[in-house]
């Protein structure tokens, strides 16, 4: 046997010390699930545009009292039905001129408006500033939508979890109830509720939420069915966790993507219902404005004063489109396999 020569320590050297470290280094920071979702969401241009638009709209309606140029309910009958005017800029359609008997007439001069008064989006039939009404109307519509969605969550999520978790007989009975509630067209239930309750914000929220929770409950139930077969749930059960704790600690965090996505689809729905109810005259009572009442007022005068309809119609459509697209974006971000 050959003796291993006694090599002094100093002769040993790491081969490619620096290079090795370089190779083994993790180049990109490892991302948590949420960070990954955010990255995917922000790489989706459409979703980012929608998110920005919605944020602007939400911010404006949050700070409505600061942003709105006039009091939305202040009436000035002499200055009624004035067309939009953008200061002294002479942009066709926004210069305060109106077609009267074939001639373009300065409606502001005709109404005897003091010099320097102008309304960005014109005034309505009672001389109320349309822009301020739209800002406040959007605010009210968004409040209705957010509240209705919250009630949806509060009823739908626990209902779905209980139904899916318990299974068996409880589930059958709970699903029957869901089936019955969902078999009446929601709009009819909403209308019936609106007839019974006093008109107002609370009634609209209740009326919308009373049928709205069903979809959420169904989705949550289906998801809970899958989740409850997971090993970590089994582990929690084996360790003797109570059902409530499993639901809050294990189920809800794993259901959060479903909840967020569904919420993004509930919001436009609630906005639609509010607008619909106000449009047919059983929604938000006067003098408060919501997008629905503004649309309905605008529709009455649409033939002669189309600007009164355009502005609320555009805002309503933008909100609806943006929430729908953002919902799509979120779904793709949370579950990249869902679409192509």
């Amino acid at each position: 046997m050959e003796q291993i020569p006694n090599v002094p320590k100093e002769k040993f050297k790491f081969v490619h010390d620096e290079n090795n470290a370089e190779q083994e280094k993790i180049g990109t920071p490892s991302l948590t699930y949420l960070q990954d979702v955010r990255r995917r969401l922000f790489s989706n241009k459409v979703a980012v545009v929608c998110l920005t638009l919605l944020s602007i709209i939400v911010l404006i309606s949050l700070f409505a009292p600061l942003v709105a140029p006039h009091n939305p309910n202040a009436q000035q009958v002499i200055l009624s039905n004035l067309p939009p005017k953008l200061g002294n800029l002479n942009i066709p359609g926004f210069n305060g001129y109106q077609n009267m008997g074939g001639h373009m007439v300065d409606a502001y001069k005709q109404a005897g408006a003091p010099k320097g008064t102008y309304y960005l989006l014109g005034t309505d039939y009672l001389g109320r500033d349309l822009l301020s009404r739209i800002i406040y109307g959007t605010r009210l519509s968004l409040i209705v939508a957010v509240l209705a969605t919250m009630v949806d969550l509060i009823i739908g999520v626990p209902y779905g979890i209980v139904s899916g978790w318990k299974g068996g007989r409880t589930d059958t009975i709970m699903q029957r109830i869901v089936e019955i509630v969902s078999s009446v067209p929601n709009l009819i239930v909403v209308i019936l509720m609106m007839i019974i309750l006093k008109p107002g914000l609370g009634s609209i929220v209740i009326a919308i939420a009373i049928t709205g929770w069903v979809t959420m409950a169904r989705l949550i139930r289906a998801q809970t069915f899958q989740l409850k077969e997971q090993e970590y749930v089994l582990a929690a059960r084996t360790l003797g966790e109570s059902s409530t704790k499993i639901a809050t600690k294990h189920l809800i965090p794993n259901l959060s993507s479903t909840i967020i996505i569904q919420t993004m689809f509930t919001i436009p729905n609630a906005i639609f219902f509010e607008a619909f109810l106000s449009f047919i005259g059983i929604g938000i009572p006067a003098p408060n404005a919501s997008l629905g009442t503004l649309l309905s007022d605008g529709q009455k005068a649409f033939r002669f004063l189309p600007y009164q309809m355009w502005a609320p119609a555009i805002i309503l459509s933008i909100i609806m489109i943006a929430t729908n697209l953002l919902g799509d974006g979120l779904r793709d971000a949370f579950d990249p396999q869902s679409d192509d």
Binding site: R176, L187, L295, Q299, F302, A313, I321
Partner: protein
């Protein structure tokens, strides 16, 4: 299969019974009476009128009477609208609503299928983007907004169609278009997702590799298989068209049941509201049942294995 259908029909009646009961008691909770406008009536006259409609009896007797009448297909008599039976009111007004609804469903579904299919075949091109954009617009813009815009431009400004009239086919075009947008958007989206799935499946690869033309692959294999799931969303779509028709009928002054419903709400006409609610629900449950059963027949892979539901 027969057992399943019978079971579903039993539940259908149970659902309708519950809906009818709920509607009845909800209506009893309503504030005001339908006669509160006629303030010239003396208390005696009011009594006679109430007795005529059976409103002097206890709520329970009224309920039993109402349910008894319901079994015989009697939805009660309208308080307003010349004391006509509600069934007669529905009968007179059913045709326009059905016509518009059916036209909207057909136009929406057919265009939606085409749009979705084109988007899927030309996936990730500008055609796809445009189709997706159109379907999002259709899904997002409320039908009443669309109805008013159509009325303003196509009827009032350009005189292509009548503004608000109900006589011939011409007058049904605008309401149909306004209502068709939602099913169009829905179907197109659904169709695109399905078709993208199908186009990447093995049997499409096989069909292509056998040398079939692209046209044949699409029409013979892809389209057919993507169409099956689309059947499932017909039910919910019919509902949205029905509800949309309420306000669209109002905008275009069409003498349909939707317009009637809105009118009966503003006049506190309980029997009509109740009758129409039950009628709408009946239509809805029947449509959903038919769709579910049809689905089982169309797609042999499903055959209602787990009750046809998730």
């Amino acid at each position: 299969m027969t057992k399943y259908i019978l079971k579903r029909i039993f539940y259908l009646f149970l659902t309708l019974f519950i809906i009818a009961t709920l509607t009845f008691f909800l209506m009893k909770l309503l504030p005001g009476t339908p006669f509160s406008n006629q303030n010239r009536m003396s208390p005696d006259q009011l009594k006679i009128v109430k007795a005529q409609y059976g409103l002097d009896q206890s709520v329970f007797v009224q309920y039993v009477r109402y349910m008894g009448g319901l079994l015989q297909g009697n939805l009660g008599t309208s308080f307003q609208f010349n004391n006509e039976p509600v069934t007669a009111l529905i009968g007179q007004r059913l045709a326009p609503s059905m016509q518009i609804g059916a036209q909207a469903m057909v136009v929406g579904t057919v265009l939606g299928i085409l749009l979705g299919a084109v988007a899927a075949i030309r996936k990730n091109t500008w055609v796809d983007t445009l189709a997706t954009f159109i379907s999002i617009l259709g899904l997002s813009i409320p039908s009443f907004v669309l109805a008013v815009l159509l009325q303003f431009y196509l009827a009032y400004k350009w005189h292509i169609y009548p503004v608000a009239l109900w006589d011939n086919f011409q007058s049904s075009v605008l309401p149909t278009l306004a209502l068709a947008a939602l099913p169009l958007g829905n179907v197109a989206r659904f169709m695109r997702t399905e078709m993208v799935d199908v186009m990447s499946s093995d049997y499409i690869e096989l069909a292509k590799s056998k040398g079939n033309s692209a046209w044949k692959v699409v029409t013979k294999h892809a389209l057919r298989n993507s169409l099956i799931p689309v059947v499932t969303i017909i039910g919910p779509m019919a509902v949205s068209v029905m509800t949309g028709s309420m306000v669209v009928e109002n905008i275009f002054s069409i003498p349909g049941i939707g317009e009637q419903f809105v009118k009966s709400i503003t006049t506190n006409d309980y029997p009509t509201i109740m009758g129409l609610t039950i009628f709408y629900s009946f239509l809805l449950v029947v449509i959903i049942l038919i769709v579910d059963i049809l689905y089982g027949f169309i797609d042999p892979r499903i055959r209602l294995g787990n009750g046809g539901k998730e």
